[in-house]
């Protein structure tokens, strides 16, 4: 029933009930060394520092941009893969006209589905290049729509990384009936400009 316990390469005892003073002092470190590698710890994480999301809709009478700075986001990287989540309240988009914003909120079922969220999964290595091709999954207006190979530009400034790009969304993608003004509907195209700044945590 004897056990061999080695500390720093040397055998200090043959009785398993005998633990040297040095070993006792090192117990917390030893236990942490045993445990830490198995933790489901991400390799790297980023948090969204600031952002501007802008949707654009076009009508024969005028064009409209709705802007939100209220998005929150996080990137978690592990084993070479990164998961990105960005979410913003639908009601946070401001087009400069409260009446239009309320119509937008109604048309997009914004009270029933109050958040628009974007999920991205991509290899961590992709963050090294200036252009990233992302496969997105957007949840909006009760619909989940994938967009493939959407190009985003990346610029690193100090600890901050700016990532920007345009998602080629359409109203039809999310089954949103085109809002109309004076019975003339807006165009189906609704590109969303995404400008984000991330910092590591």
């Amino acid at each position: 029933m004897n056990e061999y316990i080695f500390v720093e390469g040397g055998m200090i005892g043959t009785d398993r009930h005998v633990i040297g003073r040095g070993l006792r002092q090192m117990l917390p470190i030893i236990c942490l060394l045993l445990a830490v590698p198995g933790l489901a710890q991400p390799d790297r994480q980023w948090v969204l520092e600031k952002s501007t999301l802008t949707y654009h809709v076009s009508h024969p009478l005028h064009d409209t941009d709705g802007i939100s700075h209220a998005a929150r986001g996080k990137v978690v990287c592990h084993a070479g893969q990164c998961d990105v989540l960005i979410a913003a309240p639908v009601k946070s988009f401001d087009s400069g006209d409260s009446n239009r914003d309320l119509h937008m909120l109604q048309a997009t079922h914004g009270a029933q589905f109050p958040l628009v969220s974007v999920r991205i999964r991509l290899p961590e290595a992709d963050f090294g290049s200036s252009t990233i091709l992302c496969d997105l999954e957007i949840e909006f207006a009760g619909q989940t729509v994938p967009y493939r190979q959407v190009p985003f530009q990346q610029v690193t400034e100090g600890i901050y990384t700016r990532i920007s790009g345009t998602i080629p969304a359409t109203l039809a993608d999310f089954k949103i009936p085109p809002p109309s003004l004076f019975t003339v509907p807006v165009k189906n195209e609704m590109p969303v400009l995404v400008e984000t700044t991330w910092r590591p945590i």
């Binding site: 056990e3 061999y4 316990i5 080695f6 500390v7 398993r16 009930h17 005998v18 633990i19 006792r24 117990l27 917390p28 030893i30 236990c31 942490l32 045993l34 445990a35 830490v36 590698p37 198995g38 933790l39 489901a40 991400p42 009478l61 005028h62 064009d63 409209t64 929150r72 986001g73 996080k74 978690v76 592990h78 084993a79 998961d83 990105v84 989540l85 979410a87 309240p89 401001d94 087009s95 400069g96 006209d97 409260s98 009446n99 309320l102 119509h103 909120l105 109604q106 048309a107 079922h109 914004g110 009270a111 029933q112 109050p114 958040l115 969220s117 999920r119 003004l181 004076f182 019975t183």
Partner: protein, 233 residues
């Protein structure tokens, strides 16, 4: 075994079974870490005790694979569930509001037709006009007033959204509504006074002479109200 770098994974507390280590070691480890799993290199076996590692390797077949860190969730972003859950009642309110304002918009455009027609008919309903042309002008005015009231009622009765600050061109639209609403009350009153004076064979006089000017201002304010939501400025 020396030099082998294969790894085995499993719960730390399985390694700390009573027959593997002294009681003091177990207590110390239990107090020092509160972890559920560990990855242990075979090269660390001497430190742990071969029996413990053997037991651990045996258990590996039944141990769940190493957990990956969870994908970021809305909670990670600081968004509590109550903010991500929908409100059917609020959506119904928005739907009703939009529906009523669409009707308001459509009726408002239609109302513009009798309104302009009334202006044109008024040109031949003055002092030198016939009774029939005055009747036509009056009838068109009544239709306009009826449609105007109906149009306005949809905007007035549309449910408001609590906490929503009014911003943008809609403020101009609402301000102009006070102008054309006052005009829509004054214009028929002044028109009736003018008609009465003309029917008595009198020349239009007093406040009734403002009928035409008030009507013009009313139509201009009405058209501007439409333009305020149509054009970006």
């Amino acid at each position: 075994m020396t030099g082998e770098v294969t790894e085995t994974q499993g719960p730390v507390f399985d390694l700390l079974r009573p027959d593997n280590f002294s009681e003091s070691f177990e207590i110390a480890c239990s107090e020092s870490v509160e972890m559920l799993s560990a990855t242990v290199s075979v090269s660390d076996m001497p430190l742990l005790g071969r029996k413990a590692m053997a037991a651990q390797t045996k258990d590996d077949t039944t141990v769940a694979p190493q957990e990956k860190p969870a994908k970021p969730s809305l909670l990670d972003l600081g968004i509590p569930p109550d903010q991500s859950q929908g409100n059917a009642e609020a959506q119904a309110r928005l739907d009703k509001r939009s529906h009523m304002l669409k009707i308001h918009q459509t009726l408002g455009l239609i109302t513009l037709i009798p309104m302009i027609a009334t202006i044109f008919a008024g040109g031949s309903a003055g002092a030198h006009g016939s009774t029939s042309s005055r009747d036509l002008h009056g009838a068109l005015g009544l239709v306009t007033a009826g449609m105007y009231i109906t149009t306005a009622s949809y905007a007035i009765r549309a449910p408001s959204v609590p906490g929503m600050e009014v911003r943008g061109p809609i403020r101009v639209h609402k301000a102009l509504a006070w102008v054309h609403a006052a005009g829509m009350i004054l214009t028929p009153i002044l028109g009736a006074m003018a008609r009465s004076q003309l029917d008595r064979g009198e020349k239009v006089h007093g406040i009734a002479t403002a009928h035409s000017a008030v009507a013009d201002v009313t139509v201009a304010a009405y058209a501007a109200a439409i333009g305020s939501v149509a054009l970006k400025f």
